[in-house]
């Protein structure tokens, strides 16, 4: 049932991973370039200003996650062996449509052609092939299962991620209709409702795959059919649907948006409590599987889930959110989630799927420690910068914005150098993965 996939012929979705790794490289390079602008304001102003660098970095990072998440779902569907992927042809059409659109998006950014909104800054016309490629994914995932009966939780999660992405993606383009965009508060509410839920969609794909991988490592399918797994899935879905309002607490929206989101986000305490409760047994599992490279990333992701969730719960309390909102604490939360959770889980899938076992333990440990320690310093520097900015924006003072930014420079310096460490470690992993794949070919 859960066959090993070290045979290159079985890497059916490998192109999704290779393209994802290319995007990870782009995200790292442009992330560091963007960070330089914080240290030397106006550095590339005349030919490559920040409004171009930021979307190249962000889009690359988002699509690194999306491509790898899709690749993992396809590979694991094939591996489960019920009947495999419904259509490999559709999978290829999806890949080429999505990949060529993303390349086109990055080129348009480079030339300063925009028209969209934060995180989806590209011209709205490019949303058509993106949406089309996702419809193909939805068809392929749903048609790959004979029946919905007695499916493990990860299949539910993959299906949920596939279908909800389409809804949230369409919703994020309602602004094209004047009715939705004419009122700024209403417009921002819908924008952040769709953005918040959309993140939940690719998290469904990634967390689903990580549950499958944990089943595979532990050699039992008990958890993925258990009551607790489905309870946590429904809790996640509930949060995906209703826990996006923390982005909007400071806006003059209707107060029920704040109350609903505040109440729903507190249900995340259940997940936090469970992590603390299972701490001891997690440690013994860690000792047993520590030799597996893919498990090592799952372990790091677990720690980052704890840290990110703790920060998220605090930020979901409106009285605390009023301090953190619009500061670098929000960025710290995003970085913790995209690097510490999503990217680490994806790396565990890549090491598992490509059967990477031959990396020298010394080299792996060096890169692994560099990655984790750099991320922690990176994250802490952002929190420090956020606390300083929160102090500035919450107190009456005469300092103008540029003076406040100047005060934040030491934190940005640490952030930049930790970013170099982070990028170095990730490039080592990219290189090791590609070297391994080439050696097997």
């Amino acid at each position: 049932m859960m066959a090993q996939l070290s045979n290159p012929k079985k890497w059916i979705a490998r192109k999704f991973f290779f393209f994802a790794l290319f995007l990870l490289g782009t995200a790292l390079i442009f992330g560091l370039t963007g960070a330089l602008e914080y240290l030397f304001p106006g550095l590339f102003k005349d030919y490559f200003s920040f409004e171009k660098i930021r979307p190249i970095h962000v889009t690359s990072a988002i699509f690194w996650i999306i491509f790898a998440a899709i690749g993992a779902v396809y590979t694991y569907i094939e591996e489960i062996g019920e009947k495999g992927i419904f259509s490999k042809k559709l999978m290829n059409i999806q890949f080429y449509t999505l990949a060529s659109t993303v390349i086109l998006i990055l080129i348009t950014y480079f030339f300063g052609v925009f028209g969209g909104r934060e995180y989806w800054e590209f011209h709205p016309i490019l949303a058509i092939p993106l949406g089309f490629s996702w419809v193909i994914f939805f068809v392929n995932v749903f048609k790959s299962f004979i029946s919905f009966k007695k499916q493990p939780v990860y299949v539910w999660m993959w299906m949920t991620g596939a279908i909800f992405f389409i809804f949230t993606f369409l919703e994020s383009y309602l602004w094209l209709i004047p009715y939705f965009r004419s009122n700024i508060v209403s417009d921002l509410t819908i924008q952040w409702k769709s953005s918040g839920s959309m993140v939940g969609c690719w998290n469904m794909l990634i967390y689903g795959s990580s549950i499958y991988l944990m089943d595979k490592i532990s050699g039992t399918t008990q958890y993925s059919h258990s009551k607790i797994a489905f309870s946590l899935y429904f809790l996640g879905l509930f949060n995906l649907m209703f826990n996006w309002g923390h982005h909007l607490y400071t806006l003059p929206t209707a107060s029920y948006v704040q109350y609903i989101s505040y109440a729903v986000s507190m249900t995340e305490l259940l997940i936090l409590g469970r992590i603390i409760m299972l701490w001891r047994s997690s440690l013994s599992t860690a000792k047993k599987n520590y030799h597996l490279y893919s498990y090592r990333f799952l372990l790091s992701a677990d720690i980052w889930i704890f840290l990110t969730l703790l920060l998220a719960i605090l930020m979901s309390i409106p009285a605390i959110n009023v301090y953190t909102h619009g500061t670098h604490i929000t960025v710290a939360h995003t970085m913790g989630a995209t690097i510490g959770i999503n990217s680490f889980l994806i790396l565990s899938f890549v090491f598992d799927i490509f059967g990477i076992k031959k990396v020298s333990p010394k080299r792996f440990n060096f890169a692994y420690l560099l990655l984790n320690s750099s991320l922690f310093i990176f994250w802490s520097a952002l929190i420090v910068a956020g606390v300083l900015k929160a102090h500035w924006q919450m107190t009456e003072n005469t300092k103008v914005f540029s003076e406040m930014m100047n005060d934040l420079k030491p934190a940005f310096m640490v952030f930049f150098f930790a970013g170099i460490g982070l990028a170095t470690a990730l490039f080592i992993f990219i290189f090791k993965i590609l070297k391994h794949v080439r050696s097997l070919k």
Binding site: G115, E121, P178, R181, N183, M241, F401
Partner: protein
């Protein structure tokens, strides 16, 4: 958990989500809204120049430049236009025409009229909620 229970729970959540989404779509939105007004064209320029990469509105957006929610009432139209005409040490000059400058300023004016952006001015309640002054 039985499959039927899972499906029922899933459907209950979906229906609640659809109702909540539909309800939100009707809030504040203007049925008589039309495209092509000055503030609407200003919004288009805001997006085409990707201003949100550096600036924030109600604390949402980039971190390199200041929040612009209430910049219209704080600095005035002439100040905004002067900044846009010359650029700054960090912000490039986008070479906007006089019409574009006016539309973008009208868009910032409409944002300013919608509420208070500074978190310092928000009221914090004992139950942990916050509200606009």
């Amino acid at each position: 958990m039985k499959d039927i229970n899972k499906l029922v729970l899933f459907l209950v959540l979906i229906i609640s989500f659809i109702f909540y989404s539909g309800f939100l779509y009707t809030q504040n939105a203007d049925l008589a809204a039309i495209a092509g007004t000055s503030k609407d064209l200003g919004k288009k320029i805001w997006q085409e120049k990707n201003c949100i990469a550096c600036h924030q509105i109600y604390g949402l957006g980039g971190y390199l430049g200041p929040d612009l929610t209430n910049t219209y009432s704080q600095k005035g139209s002439n100040h905004i236009k002067a900044f846009l005409r010359s650029g700054t040490q960090v912000m490039p000059n986008f070479h906007l025409s006089e019409n574009e400058l006016e539309n973008l300023t009208q868009y910032l004016k409409s944002i300013d009229e919608s509420g208070i952006g500074s978190p310092r001015k928000l009221k914090i309640n004992y139950d942990g909620t916050i509200e606009q002054p």
